[in-house]
Symmetry: C2
Subunit: 700 residues, 2 copies
């Protein structure tokens, strides 16, 4: 095994046992749960370390939860590291795959005010564990002191002898470098004058050798091992398209098949979507089936709600027969992949009264005193077509194992994304267990949490392991509430674990802004979803600007939740071309593929929102300006920070508006914009440094 890897973090192979021994020693002095358990400090022959490691970032809830990153990221860790007195210290960021025993390490560097920083590259789709080790830099401390005394003209004979002992000790651990170190010792011993000896002792060569073989005696480990989940890039950057497979056909009053969905793939892929998300595809119960527009009794021929899962023909691992077979489904998944799209399945953990579980495992449900299974309720409302499961019955283990089996079943059939319905009505600890279990062997799987519940519950689900989360985006329509909410999502600690997937609509939500704002609102709400976050989604019919509500509600009239539906995908007023353009812009601009790089800027008009995104190297810079008023033209000044885009205050620069393709030469961070919602409610500017372009072009 080579001692060096690219990017210069030194590799050290540690056995888990050796690491444990160190931990046991340091736990005595830096014990976690038991504060100051000092009766045991004398149980060791070695004294405790005097080094303190604290305020490690990132760290969630004292390491209780993992942070999230994506493959290809460089993972940066900072910490306060210090000790008493003025002796120098060295520190290493240590890391390993969670499922491996080999530790690697990367040296940390002093930043400022006792703060240190280190980093390593996240190369694999897996979970890593990381922690910090720090120890006294004995040789570095000694050379510092020697240099000062020699410069002051003091006799350093005694100091040279002290240093000799440090170097001799290192040579014993130096392996192939031992002879080089011993040669240095002989040279210093044989130096004709003390000043020559000092010069040799302070040489770069010896410093390099000693650096490589530093003693770690007196060192400390950070008291916790922390975890980072490294997802695939698609977890951060993706456009989702939700559809009811049964609505993909062309015959009125008749359900479509998976083959009809396959026929739609070129169009959906052509608009630039990455993830194809199907509402449940399982057999739909007939007991207490709901009719059109959520009526209590279905008419003959009504297909029922696909969330009332299960019939005698099967449950969560079965296919609704009218859609096709499991082979048809696998073919659909494969064809979608050919078109560059992955497949997401809806997971709703509940059963129709006809579900096989209700017959075979009534113990997985809540039982009424008369022995019957309890249906879902929100008193006084009753949902008699659905049985919730009981995660805490005496048979909880069998139920949890069955649910894990169901997920793995679909994973084996090609599904890579799971959109989880109402996760907040199930135990968070269940999701934490389930996601870890699935991702242990299938780290590529993405879980999206549907919850729109209390903020702390939504955050808890994300911390428990959900890869992505629904947000309050649909209910954030005005300038300040958008700024506040997305500043929280992208700038607070939430950015470490909560990836907001912005759905502009869902099969359950037709927001008022779309009902009232018409096509201009559909356009700018789409751009907001697609550029405020790097991951977003729409529910099919958005591209048609479908906006007929159940009066007074944020729900679709004649929703395809309750009936067969046939759509004219080319109907007038559709914004398929617009969606295609925006998705193309997202794909061409790396700045829009990052999540936490969102920055808001000022605009004098309260209906105009201005924000930007940049890559860290300023190679790609995007400024988005949105007229949030779907009715009126707004013309206003916007004020952004040129420094955020790597552009000087007095510099002229080129700006391209990406929707229209128009170019401008601008100077300064204040500009005037005019946005007509009936023409184009949004401007997306890409910034180019003119002087830079110029010089590049003149060279070529």
């Amino acid at each position: 095994m080579s001692l060096r890897q690219k990017d210069s973090p030194r590799i050290l192979v540690w056995t888990k046992i050796a690491h444990c021994i160190h931990r046991i020693r340091t736990t005595v002095s830096y014990g976690g749960l038991s504060v100051q358990r000092f009766t045991s400090i004398f149980a060791n022959d070695a004294p405790p370390s005097s080094i303190i490691i604290e305020r490690v970032e990132p760290e969630l809830d004292a390491g209780r939860y993992a942070v999230k990153r994506e493959v290809g990221d460089r993972f940066e860790v900072t910490a306060d590291i210090f000790r008493d007195g003025h002796e120098k210290i060295a520190a290493f960021l240590k890391y390993r795959r969670k499922d491996a025993i080999e530790w690697f390490e990367s040296e940390m560097h002093f930043v400022d005010n006792d703060r240190w920083g280190g980093a390593f590259d996240l190369t694999e789709n897996t979970r890593y564990v990381y922690t910090i080790e720090a120890f006294p830099d004995v040789f570095g401390t000694w050379t510092d002191e020697l240099r000062k005394k020699a410069e002051a003209g003091l006799d350093v004979a005694s100091e040279l002898l002290e240093g000799r002992a440090i170097v001799v000790e290192a040579s014993r651990r130096a392996g192939d470098d031992a002879s080089a170190i011993e040669r240095s010792i002989r040279d210093i011993d044989g130096a004709e004058t003390q000043s020559i000896a000092v010069e040799l002792a302070l040489s770069d060569d010896l410093a390099e050798l000693m650096h490589r073989h530093r003693s770690r005696v007196g060192g400390a480990f950070y008291e916790r091992e922390l975890e980072v989940i490294v997802d695939r890039p698609i977890a951060r950057f993706a456009a989702w398209y939700e559809l009811f497979p049964r609505s993909a056909g062309k015959v009125e009053g008749q359900g479509a098949t998976f083959d009809d969905v396959i026929a739609r793939l070129p169009e959906i892929s052509g608009m630039g979507f990455d993830v194809l998300y199907f509402t449940p595809i399982h057999p739909i119960g007939s007991t207490n089936r709901k009719g059109k527009n959520n009526t209590l009794n279905a008419a003959p021929g009504d297909p029922g709600v696909s969330y009332a899962i299960g019939t005698a023909e099967g449950g969560h691992d079965a296919i609704e027969p009218s859609l096709g077979t499991i082979e048809d489904f696998r073919r659909l998944v494969a064809r979608a992949r050919d078109y560059g799209m992955e497949t997401a399945l809806d997971i709703a953990i509940q059963a129709s009264p006809d579900h096989p579980w209700a017959k075979d495992h009534p113990d997985w449900f809540f039982i009424r005193p008369d022995g019957s299974i309890k249906y879902a309720e929100n008193p006084p409302k009753k949902y008699q077509d659905v049985y919730p499961v009981n995660f805490f019955s005496d048979s909880w283990k069998a139920l949890w194992e069955e649910l894990r089996r169901v997920i793995i079943f679909w994973v084996k059939n090609g599904v890579t994304h799971f959109r989880v319905d109402n996760p907040h009505t199930k135990p968070t600890i269940f999701w934490e267990w389930l996601i870890a279990e699935v991702q242990r062997d299938h780290p590529e799987i993405v879980f999206l949490s549907e919850a729109f519940t209390r903020p702390k519950v939504m955050r808890a689900l994300a911390k428990a392991g959900f890869t992505q989360s629904y947000t309050y985006f649909t209910w954030r329509n005005f300038k300040q509430e958008i700024i506040d909410y997305f500043t929280e999502l992208s700038q607070s600690e939430m950015r470490e674990y909560f990836r907001g997937n912005l759905f502009a609509n869902t099969h359950d939500i037709l927001p008022y802004i779309l009902q009232q704002g018409g096509r201009p609102a559909f356009k700018f709400r789409f751009v907001l979803a697609a550029t405020l976050s790097s991951v977003y989604g729409i529910y099919s019919s958005y591209e048609l600007c479908e906006a007929t509500p159940v009066p007074g509600k944020e729900e679709y009239l004649n929703s395809e939740k309750y009936e067969f539906k046939v759509w004219d995908w080319d109907r007038p007023g559709n914004i398929k071309g617009y969606i295609t353009t925006i998705n193309q812009i997202r794909r061409e601009h790396p700045a829009l593929q990052e999540y936490e790089n969102l920055r808001f800027y000022g605009a004098d008009d309260d209906s105009v929102l201005c924000y930007g995104k940049s890559t860290p190297d300023h190679s790609d810079n995007i400024l988005v300006v949105v007229n949030l008023d779907p009715f009126q033209v707004h013309e206003t000044w916007i004020h952004f920070s040129l420094a955020d885009f790597g552009i000087g205050d007095d510099e002229q620069y080129r700006v391209t508006e990406l929707i229209t393709g128009e170019n401008f030469i601008w100077t300064g961070g204040s500009q005037q914009v005019r946005l007509d919602p009936h023409n184009e409610p949004v401007a997306i500017y890409a910034f180019h440094r003119w002087s830079h372009m110029d010089s590049v072009e003149s060279i070529n």
Copy 2:
């Protein structure tokens, strides 16, 4: 044992074993160090709890360090506590003395947005451990549902049966209350109509019984036990007076004795001081003794620096013979106590070359290659009269134990406060061990950390257990830097563990502001120290406005560190009366006895500082206005928040300036003040609600 205690927290005796069993169960699901150790979740028959307890406050560094409070405080704890779904939960704050096995508990209450709060009274000078338990409120959830369904007119026969099972289960654990619960069951069973049964099931009597005997099945413990150190009130509220005992006499060129110090007690106590702090009182080494003004070679008769501790006559547990005997010292401590003052001793862990340790335990020091002991250095400076000790030698345990013995020795001789010299050059882990060891049997002992080093090092010492800490106060002279620094001390997380003891001067520091600002500066710097913090100190001669520096340095010329000194304690220009007045104001005003209640207010003039302190019930309200310019008169508007003082915006109120005793009637939170430094640079206003006073007086 009674089931109830004052203030209504219910008492439950838990054996440590029972608690451990609960912890083991919850640790599986809420494991700390090992994130998501889910292979073991199925090791239990019982399912994990679905309740999440997080963001507990106060909590320092994930419970690694204890927070600090004082006897008499009510200890308030808040946390996010929630679960999936809409079921109700109950939560208890659990606590015990750290050295006891009995747990007590106090019910927590829902605050807002999934936040809960609870509290208990800190009645003893000891360390407490606290944590949180929460569990589903099964009966409360059931009554909620029953009420909604009954109100909707639904048949609730099945629900009544479910509730019956819950009540029967509780009756089995209800002890003396079992018969009352069984009577309720019989009444409900025998109800003539369902609506009567519902009424009985929802009765307050049954709710009270069920509340008392709630099942805790499905509950969770917070994953950590946290600690609070409860010091005596003197740890928060005290005025310190530092002196060199050898300077207490009247004969020039001759050292004073402890009896001379006793003669000074009436005057020091009369000024209102609470803690009498002596610089080291041990035998002073003669090898390389320093002379006057820190010269390298002492003249015959020079007494030496009292920090060069130890001669053949003894070390850290001995008394410098010229001061008296240990019996004399005990008499001094007892007399001081008669005058209401406690005694603080300086602890400087270092030795003169003549210290008995140097002969008997050379292994406790750093050894040079030639076998001699290393003296202290800060290259190129040498401190040849002082040997630093080596906390990490092979003999570290013996050294640490000896240092503990020394502290306990002085505790047994009546010392209650230790001011630790240069703690930042010794391992923080040593202090953590030492302080915990001493306070285990002597919780009344106060440790004051001298360090003025890097902010994080100072904070680490406080977190490690120092009761009080020196601050940067001497170097915070201007308005904004005072506001910034004291906002950090009193409002940030530091207030949980760092009690800033504001020394206006020390034997090492004569600040420039005092050198240049003269008597006005001595007055307002004293008021700042005495009112910005509840605990402060001066070094003797401050009351004389002694301000002759070593030119260009913040040090005293002819410092008594190096020579015998005789002071005229009544010399002209002294501010003893002023000090007496301010200390009297502190004693009369509870608002000035609190630490974290400091709030800064606006003043239009950049040289005028305005701040206030209030008791939580607004029974005492203080507003301090300081002219920070010792040279010129400043007249300006100040702007404070009447709401902070419990006074209405339109209300007329009485204000007493406490130094002069003048009274004013004010209205509104903006007032004009004029401060002449040569007359009185400070105003200290006490606020009285006039209407309140009025009504009280008319009643009497």
